[in-house]
Subunit: 414 residues, 2 copies
């Protein structure tokens, strides 16, 4: 995936361990029969962090979501560790809350911290009872193996149908001090706005209050993860958490000053990259799709239109077929639930192989099918929509709909 360049921010390695004071690890605890695949991960900060999170809007909420919410409430927005498993979502089980609490307690005891400082998450099949024994057997080893190079093992532990590990981190400067912000994500299917992901964990060494983390997170999630749609299914277990331990040593950010803007932009960059990684690795995806809606009357309209296009199965199939069937784009713009004039709309298709105009003022324009096919043969396709009725902009991300999506989801549980 092509990373976008942002002035003042340098991409670095390390994922959730890129920021000072963060350790991570991942092991196979036995939930996944494939012993080469981790299924239990941990992120730990040497210092207590200010922390905030956003959660799925699905009425069915995984038990770990409910437990994590309670912990962050009890701790007044503090956290020190994440414990997360894949293969079983611990959702729709009568004993789900007890299990999530027990796992949190196991982690807290091994780490010697208060249970309310633990963020718990699970991803995998819904409605299968989660056995506690694998956690009991593996927790000590998981904690003992925590290291500053453990980010990859943790990123591996949260993968389900993901084909690649998803990590990104940036380095930047606040008040002359070098700071870091990084994260890991999992997600491939059951991805749709509110929250458009499954699990994302972000760490930073910036000193910032819980309230300002929550503010930045809520704003950035709206224009990144929540603008991602793989298949229109909103998961029951989605969560993004951000933990900041302050070890960079900057003056604590507690208002919307310049330092806050720098932090927020770092969060945007990491979350935009993870969003694009999730889109690129959408279940069965062969192409990443980015739809930019410009000159919209307001940002919400731009978001709604961009999401509508990204979500359209017919458009997604056309992209898989590398067919410049722009009528389907206009159709999806047309059923977007927002108020605008369809007869002013222009559409271009773009990739690293060129750009082509396919629609002007809501009607088709002649174009070279040959050139269109060449543009659409790329792995990353950019759909550029001008509404020509304002100056707001938004992006949405997704992927094509392929045979492999059906194959993966036609037989997921086994």
């Amino acid at each position: 995936m092509t990373k976008k360049i942002y002035e003042g921010y340098t991409y670095i390695d390390g994922g959730v361990c890129a920021a000072s004071g963060f350790l991570a690890n991942g092991v196979n605890c036995g939930l996944n029969p494939d012993k080469n695949k981790n299924d239990l991960g941990m992120v730990y900060s040497k210092e207590v962090c200010n922390a905030a999170a956003v959660y799925t809007l699905n009425k069915v909420k995984g038990a770990p979501i409910l437990v994590t919410k309670e912990h962050l409430k009890n701790s007044n927005g503090k956290a020190q560790a994440v414990v997360v498993n894949s293969k079983n979502a611990n959702t729709c089980n009568a004993d789900g809350i007890d299990k999530a609490e027990a796992i949190s307690k196991l982690a807290a005891d091994c780490l010697g911290i208060d249970v309310n400082l633990v963020i718990n998450a699970s991803t995998g099949v819904i409605g299968q009872v989660l056995p506690i024994e694998p956690f009991e057997g593996a927790m000590k080893g998981l904690v003992d193996g925590l290291s500053e190079e453990g980010n990859g093992k943790a990123a591996n532990a949260i993968m389900t149908t993901d084909t690649v590990q998803k990590e990104v981190a940036v380095e930047f400067v606040i008040d002359g001090i070098t700071c870091h912000l990084g994260g890991m994500a999992k997600g491939s299917g059951m991805i749709h706005p509110n929250m458009a992901t499954t699990l994302n964990f972000v760490t930073s060494d910036v000193a910032i209050s819980t309230a300002m983390i929550q503010k930045a997170l809520s704003e950035i999630v709206k224009i990144t993860y929540n603008c991602l749609s793989i298949d229109g299914d909103t998961s029951t277990n989605d969560m993004v958490s951000v933990m900041a331990n302050g070890l960079a040593g900057n003056k604590i950010i507690s208002e919307e000053n310049e330092a806050y803007e720098i932090f927020k932009q770092a969060l945007y960059i990491v979350m935009e990259n993870m969003t694009m990684m999730l889109a690129s690795d959408g279940e069965g995806a062969s192409k990443m799709l980015e739809c930019t809606v410009s000159s919209a009357p307001d940002r919400d309209t731009a978001i709604i239109v961009a999401k509508s296009v990204i979500r359209s199965p017919l458009f997604k199939c056309a992209m898989f077929g590398e067919d410049a069937n722009w009528g389907r784009i206009l159709c999806a713009i047309g059923y977007a639930e927002a108020d605008f004039d369809i007869e002013k709309v222009d559409v271009d298709l773009k990739s690293d192989k060129g750009v082509i105009a396919v629609c002007r003022a809501g009607a088709g324009v002649p174009f070279s099918e040959e050139k269109a096919a060449e543009i659409l043969s790329a792995d990353e396709i950019y759909i550029m929509i001008e509404l020509n009725q304002g100056d707001s902009v938004a992006k949405a991300w997704g992927c094509d709909l392929t045979y492999d999506y059906v194959k993966i989801n036609g037989d997921y549980r086994s």
Copy 2:
């Protein structure tokens, strides 16, 4: 497809020609290079009909939709003929309205009727200029060939990616007089609520006012076509029209009396059957899915929940894989945008091979995977959801998501 039994109504042959005084025909006018496939159809009533229609809510509206609306307005709800083509949607073309008007005029002139009595419709690719010459060449032959047995030719003419012709008709009694109501439909992809179909034409010999037709149509479309989702894409060209010529000779229905209820039920039966036919023949479908939501606080909630399940790509893939992955059903119930308590929900899976309980009070219950697999091996699957918080009911229909859906839509234009 299994037709449901309704007391007092008998299924008969004849489709749009089942009602007295209706003729139909279909020809290949040259839009479709396959000369064995009709692409231009007509339905004609010997007498002027009272008529009503409902249209797509997509902002992008096919030119024929706009022209038909205007005609029905100009004629005060009267119509005498439908002229419809497939292969080209006549949508998003600068000259679309002119073309739709010209086609209507050609039909009106050949039939010797006022142009405002013509309902025009088109279906096919969006954004390609529609040539008028094929219509000029074929219209006279189309009209000359109108017959009481022409319903099949007309039903063939409106097919696009449909694999079967879709016709249904019923006979029933109003005030001791035998009446008929029948219809034809096309639609396979780009189908999603508001309006969940593409083209549907219903004819009847019942005497009923335009206002009462519109009232019945609006009510029935809400609980039939608008509860159908193949792929979540709302077409630009959707239309259902109902024409009633009064030749049965009953006392004209102009209020909500017993005769109105009988007519409305006939309309429900025909439209429910066509909805199920559309679901069964969804692009690439191997199974028809019917989701019934009962004991809901109100009908709108029941509709929203039923549609949410039917629309879920993950659930649709699971049905293709014959996998009783009920967690995906609960997930889709959970993100339905309605107000209800998820912890009271029960779910059963049913087919002609049996029924099995998979979820009680929002949590999984143990079940035999073997029995579940047998139930899901059927061609028609019924998902029975009890919300247990009221007494309203609604159904929604759809199909599984298969390799063939992707194949069909990955390369539709060529």
